[in-house]
């Protein structure tokens, strides 16, 4: 299968690989997927306590090129957004931006799940109810 140029670009030059200190109150971590399914994404956000803006985002992904690109793109999009803005990121936006074929849509779904999971982790660390109910895609 041929990958789109954007997928290849993110795979070759992934943005924001790394690890944030998950013991920090300002850091939310989302770990989604499973090794035996061939995709595991860990996405982390660091929120500025005063402004409520996501000031940093990092990822590490075990998966195919499309999974790596989806999470790399997600970190790019997250930076500078408020939590509420971050929640509006839809997996289909990722599909469109990366020109993912139908068989790779699950990679974008996983990235969206990772965003929501990271936000929920941040919220529960800060004494907030997990606002977002996990979207069911299947």
């Amino acid at each position: 299968m041929a990958y789109s140029e954007k997928v290849i670009d993110h795979y070759t030059n992934p943005r924001n690989i790394g690890t944030l200190d998950k013991s920090q109150k300002t850091v939310g971590t989302g770990l989604v997927g499973a090794p035996e399914c061939g995709d595991v994404m860990r996405l982390q956000i660091m929120v500025n306590e005063e402004t409520g803006i996501i000031q940093d985002a990092k990822f590490k992904t075990f998966g195919c090129g499309s999974a790596i690109a989806s999470s790399s793109l997600a970190t790019e999009w997250l930076k500078g957004k408020s939590i509420n803005e971050a929640l509006t990121i839809d997996n289909m936006d990722i599909v469109e931006e990366l020109a993912l074929p139908p068989v790779k849509i699950h990679c974008s779904v996983l990235a969206e799940d990772a965003i929501r999971s990271a936000i929920n982790d941040y919220r529960s660390k800060n004494g907030l109810e997990p606002l977002v109910s996990e979207k069911t895609h299947y």
């Binding site: 299968m1 990958y3 795979y11 992934p14 690989i17 690890t19 770990l31 989604v32 997927g33 499973a34 090794p35 035996e36 399914c37 061939g38 995709d39 595991v40 994404m41 860990r42 990822f59 590490k60 992904t61 075990f62 998966g63 195919c64 090129g65 999974a67 790596i68 068989v103 849509i105 699950h106 779904v109 996983l110 799940d113 299947y138």
Partner: protein, 404 residues
Amino acid sequence: MLKLPVYLDNNSTTQVDPRVFDTMTPYFLEVYGNAASKSHSFGWAGEEAVDYARCQIASLIGANEKEIIFTSGATESNNLAIKGVFEMYASKGNHIITLTTEHKAILDTCKHLEKSGAEISYLSVAEDGLISLETLEAAIKPTTILISIMFGNNELGVVQPIAEIGAMCKKHGVLFHSDATQAVGKIPVDVLTDGIDLMSFTAHKMYGPKGVGALYVRRKNPRVKVTAQMDGGGHERGMRSGTLNVPGIVGFGKACEIARLEMADEYLRLKKMRDRLEAALLSIEESYLNGSNEHRLPHTSNISFKYVEGEGLMMGVKDIAVSSGSACTSASLEPSYVLKSLGLDDELAHSSLRFGLGRFTTEEEIDFTIKTVKEAVFKLREMSPLWEMFKDGIDLKSIQWSEH
């Protein structure tokens, strides 16, 4: 100068040897007669070419030329052998024994026969890919008519104890078929000393053309017959109708002759290169060889790189043509059933690469492969959360994963 991509998928198919190609060309343009035409010189010349190739092929495997039945390839040979024996020997029994690590051409043929009343035992192999002779013997029943076990495995290169299995079959009066697609031309195969009654093989895995293969069918001790699976002109002693592919057969013959003459040297050259590649890749932390190290074809190496996902790895090694143990074509990944048969976790099965060296592989290409694979594995581990957890001493099995 290194030409990219590097071809290391010789277990899938091989380049035609230029010597084979040259031998074939006159049979397209000049000697184009139908080998079954008995009334003119065009036909006679075609028949003569086929007879000569039949001898070249037979002598590679220690057979008599009359025991070679031409087919379109190993898949057809496997179908003909198994379905043909099942039908021909129906009065003797309906039980067939095979392995879970066989090629789909065997497994799916067996599944097909189950609908027609066949009883099939799919035996498991040990974690090195080898069948235990005790397990095999215990599976034989009075109704067993056929044991079908491949010579060398296509994914792992593991070579089964064929001569021992052949002797066991003889002792129990059971026919022995072997899919020797990967073995013929690469390692010594002798239907007599190996005790093989039926054997499938094909030209394109040994530097011959695609679209031509053979089924060896023993004529003496015992005389084996298979029911034809195609009706027609009764070619190939009535076992396989259809006009013979003369240029293909001529190429197949030449490929067998070259293999017979050069196998000993080529075996050593390939094994040396393969071993060098393998040693370098196994020096990477958390990488594992799949299948028996000792009982193996000289040109195949199947390695899993833990904490790296197979398809991502394939993308990282796009300048090398290899096969992956994982077929990620849908949301549900399907790891190789052969690797799973060895008891590998899905995870390890997903992250495996099969390297298949060949006659035209160079030392320079091996150097390039080592460098490329190492770089890709390191890069992907840098971005793998699983690798980070492993390095932090976290047991991945202790984590509650969200299945998706």
